[in-house]
Symmetry: C2
């Protein structure tokens, strides 16, 4: 039996969001929130466009998913995000009590794991899904930035 | 010489915001952002009203201040907040590179200090300003919640 809606499927959707950020000259990070096999929120990093350090993909996806659900807790939801969340986003995910977080590339130095920030005890974490694709897009972005200096 | 615009003065403004949250049956936490001796952003916790775990007073104040300044960094700003920031808010304050954070009551168990979350290396922290008033308002709120159960 073919199951089209696996983790790779949803991470590709998060990657599509990251590409939208790239096209806006934003650090290319994308996220989607999935509930009952359906994407209920999509977002990409908009910190430059909105002049707002809080406008990370995850933060916007959390807010949008809660808005869709009509409740602030994301207990039966999974967040797919192309890069390991930072302390801020991990803190927000903690408060949301989200069921599962799946991320692509790790973020040594800025990621929540190295910083020791806790997600909610009930939250399952899976990492490394399409990590190369997620990381390559970020590398391409920063290489472009260095060359344009 | 009398200086009316000291830390107590601005913390009182943050407390006024916390009282506005209290009146809306929100956990009473308030914040203001000050630049050049002037309040440029005011906010209070709205997590219930907005159904959004990210709607902490600090997060909204950071966004509002950046919006006022037209830039995402709060390098010459001070945040006054009635309660010690959580990991999420500390993470946001890190990204904002804010100059100074002044908070009232400490938040053992949830506050960023015990959690080991870093603010920006350039950020100065002062704590304990009107701590009793800030803490008493929270106690009053939670006592009311327990009695209404």
């Amino acid at each position: 039996m073919i199951t089209p809606f696996d983790d790779n499927h949803f991470m590709k959707q998060a990657l599509n969001e990251a590409k939208r950020a790239f096209d806006k000259d934003e650090v290319p990070i994308g996220a989607v929130v999935v509930a009952k096999g359906q994407v209920i929120a999509r977002a990409h990093n908009l910190t430059e466009t909105l002049n707002d350090v809080t406008a990370h993909a995850e933060m916007q996806a959390i807010t949008a998913a809660a808005n869709y659900l009509g409740g602030k807790y994301l207990k039966d939801c999974t967040l797919y995000v192309t890069l390991e969340p930072c302390s801020m986003c991990a803190g927000a995910l903690f408060w949301s009590q989200i069921s599962k977080v799946v991320f692509g590339a790790t973020d040594p130095g800025r990621g929540y794991q190295e910083k020791g920030v806790d997600l909610h005890p009930k939250t399952i974490v899976k990492q490394g899904v399409l990590a190369k694709e997620c990381g390559d897009l970020l590398k391409l972005f920063f290489e472009g930035k260095r060359q344009s200096k």
